[in-house]
């Protein structure tokens, strides 16, 4: 099994929102960032992987197994962090851990205790008295303490200070060095992605706009800046998105070679776009 | 220019944590960013201003009024956004608004409708049907729609996509064009603060490390980098924290100009970002 996650043709409809034909894959031992504007469907995809909501069509394979047929097998090897962690508010950190750990055969209590110390979690404090960031840290500590082969993290750095974020990202990077663990995480913080993601999947309004590796983006994506000639029909198939600004026209292409050839000789500027620019560019298009 | 908010000698003790003598002021027409590691006390400060928790000592003056003696008046001019928006889950956004709007004499219905549209919020949907980001946006719309003079926000951008974050920051900058209004917000996304804050207050372990103009901080604080044998840590003036490792020595100083004068070409000097400052003060070794 060389793929940690395979999603194909996923479909889920809510009133006023449709997750439509979502497909992407994550090879084992790598990290994928799931990005996109609010309401794009990132949390829905994660909930579908966890079978918290029922899908209407499509397949999901985690660690080589079907996510419905082998749900228990998968979940015992899967660590997750929800965007708003839900714990019993009147239980303490310690009690929560003993509740959760019972479900995982590979629970490593020594590891958990070490994480509690490193993260600065007060073991005897009730969850209701913890700040939001601390609850996040608890969620992370639990997810990292049972030798999970697949980590599913929904906005794991939300509410965490930059110092802790930096260390967390280093820790996650180190985790996948063994080639066995894989991570899918959704985030809005592009600087985190820069540090961490090997692959990126961009969702918008329930559809996958692109899903590829960072290398591919670096090699194949270009930001083209020029004048109104870029709006012409002949260039349409080249560009993923085109924007008119006060200063001219900007376009994003995922086929650098073709673009270079097609635009040879025109007065255009070709730049490698930063992740931020890509996100901004693609978030707003209708 | 007077201060829209003055906090002095604020104290609050919990089991295992204490806010010690926190004092700072937010001038009118400015944006103040509140930074600090998780658990440093930022949310505690915000809650004390809003009297959600009781202070043990100190004063909080908003619009020149004591926040306890004039609680209703003060709160009618504050727009608040907390890090977890809590509204009744089974009620539609419009109904929630109709319950809350009458509390604010300066409520601007047109502004609210415009914000709903701009933020792309489904007005008739129940609150629980919204994604986290949309819930935050709704809280924001409510806070801005009553023309608040002080906008007080605890981690307002957590969970918001970068495009909306940018728009929000733009909106906040636009807000303070009216010299009477100010914004105080705590955030972990220090890059956002570097972009728009006028002042920064850094809280660490319940105490204020500094509260000054952002430009001043970014100009006078800096990083000193050198090989481990080239300089002594004690030589660095204004040392606030340092790290040693395979790369040599990296130190944070609050007076990089003085460091440059003292150490000259023996070291390399660099700007310190807010994140660097937080990092070295929280995690670095000792101070001189």
């Amino acid at each position: 099994m060389d793929e940690a996650l395979v999603i194909s043709g996923l479909r889920k409809a809510y009133p006023g929102f449709l997750l439509n034909d979502v497909s992407f894959r994550l090879p084992r031992g790598y990290i994928m960032g799931l990005i996109g504007p609010n309401g794009a469907g990132k949390t829905t995809v994660i909930k579908l992987i966890l079978n918290l909501v029922r899908r209407e069509a499509g397949h999901i394979t985690v660690l080589g197994r079907d996510n419905l047929k082998d749900e228990t097998w998968i979940k015992s090897r899967l660590g997750f962090v929800h965007e708003t962690p839900a714990f019993y508010s009147y239980l303490t950190v310690r009690q929560t851990a003993s509740l959760v750990s019972a479900f995982y055969p590979a629970w490593d209590n020594a590891r958990f205790r070490r994480l509690v110390q490193e993260f600065g979690l007060p073991p005897g404090k009730r969850v209701s008295r913890l700040s939001r960031g601390t609850v996040m840290k608890l969620s992370l500590a639990l997810a990292l303490s049972h030798g999970a082969e697949f980590l599913l993290l929904d906005e794991p750095t939300s509410g965490l200070d930059p110092v802790f974020r930096r260390e967390l990202l280093e820790r996650l990077s180190a985790l996948i060095q063994d080639g066995r663990t894989s991570i899918l995480f959704s985030t809005h913080i592009t600087s985190d992605l820069e540090r961490l993601a090997d692959y990126l999947t961009f969702l918008r309004q329930g559809e996958v706009i692109f899903s590829c590796s960072r290398e591919e983006i670096q090699d194949q994506w270009l930001l083209v800046k020029g004048g109104n000639e870029l709006l012409e029909e002949k260039y349409r198939p080249l560009f993923r998105a085109v924007k008119s600004t006060a200063f001219g026209v900007q376009a994003l292409t995922a086929t650098a070679e073709q673009a270079r050839r097609a635009l040879a000789g025109s007065q255009v500027l070709l730049e490698r776009p930063t992740l931020d620019e890509i996100v901004f560019f693609l978030s707003k298009e209708q | 220019m007077d201060n829209i908010l003055e906090v002095s000698g604020l104290r609050k003790r919990y089991k295992g944590f204490a806010l010690k003598d926190v004092s700072f002021a937010v001038p009118r027409g400015t944006i103040m960013g509140l930074i600090g590691p998780n658990g440093a006390g930022k949310t505690t400060v915000v809650k004390l201003i809003m009297n959600l928790i009781r202070r043990q000592a100190g004063r909080v003056e908003v619009f020149g009024l004591d926040n306890l003696r004039h609680e209703p008046e003060v709160k009618s001019r504050i727009g608040f956004v907390y890090d977890t928006p809590c509204f009744p889950p089974d009620i539609s956004l419009l109904r929630i608004k109709s319950a809350l709007a009458p509390f604010y004499p300066a409520w601007n219905e047109n502004l609210f409708r415009r914000l709903l549209e701009e933020f792309e919020l489904p007005a008739k949907k129940k609150f629980k049907a919204l994604s986290h980001g949309m819930k935050m946006k709704f809280a924001l719309a409510l806070a801005l729609a009553h023309e608040a003079e002080l906008v007080l926000m605890d981690e307002p951008t957590a969970g918001l996509d970068p495009v909306f974050r940018q728009e929000l920051l733009g909106k906040l900058s636009g807000l303070i064009q009216d010299e009477r209004k100010s914004v105080l917000f705590s955030s972990h996304i220090t890059t956002d603060l570097e972009k728009i804050a006028d002042h920064i207050t850094f809280i660490h372990e319940g105490a204020v490390v500094f509260s000054s103009a952002k430009d001043e901080i970014l100009e006078s604080w800096g990083l000193v980098k050198a090989g481990s044998r080239d300089i002594e840590v004690s030589d660095i003036p204004g040392l606030k924290g340092y790290r040693t490792g395979a790369f040599g020595l990296e130190a944070l100083t609050s007076d990089v100009a003085a460091a440059r004068r003292r150490l000259g070409p023996k070291a390399v000097y660099d700007r310190a970002s807010l994140e660097d400052i937080m990092y070295f003060i929280s995690k670095g070794n000792g101070h001189a």
Binding site: Y90 | K47, M50, N51, L52, I53, R54, E71, P72, E73, V74, K75, S76, F80, Y82, T84, C86, F87, P88, P89, D90, I91, R95, I96, S98, A99, L100, P102, F103, Y104
Partner: protein, 231 residues
């Protein structure tokens, strides 16, 4: 204060409608079958229920807010904590009065009702029911404020356990029977007296005074507790 009451009504609209539906079903059934409850006091029971719904609602609303964490929202609005609590009390009385009017209206208007308007609007019944309920919510509202939903559940469970233990003890220590039940017995006898033909308007004035005093005390305590509460 009105704004606060309005806010509670809007925020709890669904809850209130549901309770209205249940109450209506119950009252309709009760009114239709009242003759089979072989007791001249049965209208009192109906009144009691009508009030009870109103009284318990206020505790429920407080508990819901505690559970749903919307309390931070309420306390961030431009009003004093004292006013918030006063509004809760006012809302309770509002709901109880509404319950009374509703039950009476149903009794008078439903064609198959076996209880007439006169029977329903018995002042003694109304006052005694109010007294009992005032005691109930006068204790419960401050209690919920201080101890939250979890506290109320604890209390109810504990009260039941204590009741069970008391019954067992009485059963096994037959001699203790009279002592344990006598305060309860005298309370019931007192209430029956007030409701019966022998009580005078003097007694009723005392009842009204007791109701007012209990409310005032409870309000005072509840306000003090709420002012200290931290979110």
């Amino acid at each position: 204060m009105l704004k606060l009451i309005r806010k509670e009504l809007i925020f709890n609209r669904n809850n209130l409608l549901l309770i209205l539906a249940i109450m209506t079903a119950f009252l309709v059934y009760f009114l239709a079958r009242a003759e089979t409850f072989n007791s001249p006091d049965s209208p009192a029971f109906m009144m009691f229920c009508a009030f009870y719904v109103g009284a318990s609602l206020c505790v429920t609303l407080e508990a819901r807010e505690d559970r749903g964490k919307t309390a931070a929202l309420t306390c961030s609005l431009p009003c004093r904590r004292k006013t918030i609590v006063a509004a809760r009390f006012a809302l309770t009385w509002l709901l109880m009065t509404a319950g009374l009017i509703y039950a009476t209206a149903l009794a008078a208007l439903l064609p198959f009702s076996r209880i007439s308007l006169n029977q329903a609007l018995n002042l003694k019944f109304i006052l005694v029911a109010l007294l009992i309920l005032t005691v109930v919510f006068a204790v419960f509202l401050p209690f919920t404020i201080r101890f939250g939903v979890v506290g109320v559940i604890f209390f109810l469970v504990a009260a039941q356990l204590i009741g069970l233990i008391a019954l067992f003890l009485v059963h096994f220590l037959k001699s203790g029977r009279a002592e344990i039940f006598s305060p309860i017995g005298s309370a019931i006898r007192g209430l029956k007296f007030l409701v019966g033909p022998q009580s005078t308007s003097g007694h009723l004035v005392l009842v009204v005074a007791a109701i007012l005093a209990l409310n005032a005390a409870s309000l005072f305590i509840a306000q003090a507790l709420y002012a200290r509460r931290e979110f």
